[in-house]
Amino acid sequence: MKNIQNLGLGLFLIGLTIFTSLIFLGKYEVTPQVLDEIISNKSIKSEHLINDLKTNVVGKEFSNPFLFSSEITSALEIANETHKQNSEWGKVIWDKPHSFSYEIAKKSGTGIIKEHKGLFWWLTFGLGILGALLYIIPNVITLGPPGIKNNGIWLHAATNRGWIGWFAFVFLVGFYILLYFRPDYIVNWTYIVDPISESLSGNLASQWFLYGFLYCTVMTVMAVRMYIKYRHNKYQILRTTSVLFFQIVFAFLIPEILVRFEKPWYDFKNAFPLDYDFFFSWNLDQLIASGGLGIFILVWGIVLTLVIVPVMVYFFGKRWYCSWVCGCGGLAETLGDPYRQLSDKSLFAWKFERWIVHGVLVFALVMTGFTLYTYFQGAEAVLGIKTQTIQDIYGFLIGAIFAGVIGTGFYPIFGNRVWCRFGCPLAAYLGIVQRFKSRFRITTNGGQCISCGNCSTYCEMGIDVRAYAQKGENIIRSSCVGCGICAAVCPRGVLKLENGPEDGRINPTEILLGNDVDLLDFLKQK
């Protein structure tokens, strides 16, 4: 078994190494036809840029994406600067330089990867998946009989912020930086998923398609790990199946198929304000322009946030979304499960969390307010602040840095729910409903708690569950995503997630159950 696992680990690492090294392979050459295509597609009017590209780029072979990218982005920047100085606004190209460069690179890459997309898919994804499964599946035997097997988690460098954890951290952060800010460096990655993308939407793969596909793959493989680890726990199994289903079908397949039918890309479960650009003018325009379905999406999006989300939270707690439906939660609960113990449980962290997560919610709402005001008033700015600027700041700080780079990149260091806990505006909204108007609670089983601390240690949201359990108090916390792990790891059967009447949800407990009744009466009389 150990040998199979080592083989699996080896294959996985080979796959990962090939995947990483793909960036450096292949060549880029822009033909005159490609340039013409770009010029007409993007209706480029800047003769500066066109000339610059013609002399410095066209017909030349670039041996790596970095040189290629720097050539194109600098050409773009120089051209834009000149036009701005001359106030030739019509000639300025508003694309982000690296997205612009990505589009050219996607068309201009040549070499072995583009010619053998299938082969490279197998060498990267294929080996990675196979290796990971070979590593994971023997756990059925190596973990021992079904039950909580957290053995060695705090002794292993991958899961106790050791060197492997830091390595994974650097790798993930690097990945997200490339994905969000340097897509032109990773065109080679997108080639290997082109065939899949074409079969779904008919288009070549963008970096976002690559990300979506990778996301589903990682979640599926890590869900297998969850199924094995928690095979004695039906709540965990159903929950994992549910998030996997919503990710693959709702966040990945349906949107791609919508695109195939020339409808807008839309993830039906992605609720505002997590879906922060839902009310952006381009999205509203696009929806309104796409006929019946567009209007349906518009109405659905609003009803989802205003009615479905709070009503479901009332009945089931925010877990229905965060641990059963949401894609961010889905990744956190699969890829992130090995890191859940790393969340900070201190009171300080809790205070910090409340400020920042509600801060993001306010930010999202203010931004949306601005957006809608400008949309309906036709103005560009409110109180002298340009809506576009706010949107850009939000997109950069929250959408990219917080949700991506920090949210997932920091898994191996700060635990798997960094984004959900500190950054997600939807979680903040759900949390307020859960805290004040919900039937959901985690019931504490009388006086059975032995203060061992397993529950707090494994709470990914950094809730000090023990602090409540040892006092016999039910756990009612806005941040609880109802993952059920605290109840799973408790060795004394103290915790139960349940939905019940609001009466008695918050239980006063001066004295724990077990001490005699007179004492209770005594305290009540006081």
Binding site: G152, W154, H232, Y235, I450, G453, G500, D518
Partner: protein, 447 residues
């Protein structure tokens, strides 16, 4: 300001301190030689197993004590001078008190086995024991084999711990079946199987004769009394129960038996000195309870009670219905009320076991009145409040079975077995009990 000094920063001492702080403004000092801060002894196993780090076993953050004006003093109390209300420390300083609470806990039993003080021979009680384990049994290279002596709750925990690091374990149990002084035969059998299932070399009816030393004064093997068999090993775990740790009373006039003798108010024979937790012994047992109760919950309850008394609401220790819990490898165990190993004269039993052999319930009730006396549940979680209510209201076994759906505390979507349980009872007793549907209303009426 009155100065309350507490010896021992375990659950009893700390609970007392917390409640005294809640109720009053007195000066409070907790003394301990073991650790700087309160930690959960019950969680020691999880540190060795790598589920947690030591700091996770500490229920309160380090700033908590200062914020609540509870002073912590690290030191070993050598002598209590009750005449002058003074504590003398091994470190040669002293501390005066107005009221003293002794909460010094237990220590592992040693029965005078030859070799019991060798290196690599230890109990599992303190933080230091945990540290020693890292020295003598960090992995299966250093510790090629371990022997555990004594089949109780701590013994099986130690077996699970060593097993988690792939160290082969031989488990010597004096009784004919695991923990059969407490568990009825069926449950005890189930746990025997669970131990074997986990690859532990379980030796029932086996006593330790002696531990043999190597040339460096470290244990190298043990000999079994009954068979004379010698088992080579690098670690010997002595887990044959615990006894009250009352060393500090030896030079004082505090009355002791096996533990520090206290009355129902947890007062010792010396005014202003109280004893709580594992180290206390009731003059007279309360109900069916043991005069010495060495469990977490009772320590906590005594802490709560003595705090009331010290703060002027004189209150007797008056525990409610007995409850307890444990985990045997993967099988969780809870108990409410009493289910003795052997049924008493007036008792009838009902036992149900799931076909997996990993779940069961055992009901104990009065033969004639049918009143519930207690339940053991293994592999199924049950609601504490439910059974507390049943016992308070003196409900019959019929009533309990009818409402069993209210009692289940397993996570959502778990398979429920109530129907099967009730059907079995009906079959065996010729009754026609109908299972009622779970009712939130009933569940929440309890409190």
């Amino acid at each position: 300001m009155e100065h309350i000094v507490i010896i021992g920063n375990g659950i009893s001492g700390v609970t007392a301190a917390r409640h005294i702080r809640k109720l009053s403004d007195k000066k409070i000092t907790i003394v301990s030689a073991e650790s700087d801060y309160f930690f959960s002894r019950t969680a020691l196993m999880y540190v060795y197993m790598g589920h947690m780090k030591f700091k996770h076993t500490q229920p309160y953050e380090n700033w908590f004590w200062k914020k609540n004006r509870i002073e912590l003093k690290k030191g070993f109390v050598k002598k209590i001078d009750s005449e002058n209300k003074l504590l003398l420390f091994a470190e040669d300083d002293s501390l005066s008190y107005d009221k003293l609470i002794i909460a010094t806990g237990s220590k592992p039993n040693k029965f005078g086995w030859p070799g019991q003080d060798l290196k690599g021979v230890q109990g599992l009680y303190s933080k230091q024991d945990l540290e020693n384990l890292e020295v003598y049994a960090p992995n299966n290279q250093v510790c090629k084999h371990a022997v555990i002596v004594g089949g109780g709750l701590i013994g099986i925990e130690l077996a699970e711990m060593l097993h988690s690091r792939h160290i082969p374990v031989t488990f010597l149990v004096r009784e004919t079946s695991f923990w059969d002084g407490v568990l009825p035969k069926e449950e005890s059998d189930m746990i025997n199987k669970e131990i074997l299932r986990n690859g532990i070399d379980l030796r029932l009816s086996s006593n330790l004769k002696e531990i043999i030393s190597d040339e460096n004064g470290q244990a190298k093997s043990i000999i079994i009394e009954e068979t004379g068999e010698e088992i080579p090993c690098n670690l010997v775990g002595l887990t044959a129960g615990v006894s009250p740790n009352i060393d500090i009373t030896k030079t004082s006039t505090i009355e002791t038996g096996r533990g520090i003798k206290v009355n129902r108010f947890l007062e010792t024979n010396i005014p202003d000195i109280y004893a709580i937790g594992d180290c206390a012994e009731q003059h007279e047992a309360i109900g069916n309870r043991n005069p010495i109760e060495a469990v977490w919950y009772t320590g906590r309850m005594m802490g709560e009670t003595v705090a009331q008394t010290i703060c002027g609401n004189k209150m007797a220790y008056n525990p409610g219905h007995w409850f307890n819990s444990a985990k045997f490898f993967d099988i969780e165990y809870q108990t409410y009320g009493w289910v003795w190993a052997q049924p008493k004269e007036n008792e009838a039993r009902f036992y149900w076991e799931h076909k997996s052999g990993k779940k069961c319930i055992h009901l104990n009730y009065d033969k004639n009145t049918k009143e519930l006396i207690g339940i053991n549940n293994f592999g199924i979680r049950m609601r504490h409040e439910f059974f507390d209510k049943m016992l308070n209201e003196k409900q019959t076994v019929t009533y309990v079975l009818e409402h069993l759906a209210d009692a289940n505390f397993d996570p959502e979507f778990y398979k429920l077995h109530e129907k099967e349980i009730v059907a079995k009872f009906n079959l065996e007793n010729n009754t026609n009990i109908q299972l009622r549907k779970k009712s939130w209303k009933r569940i929440f009426q309890t409190s």
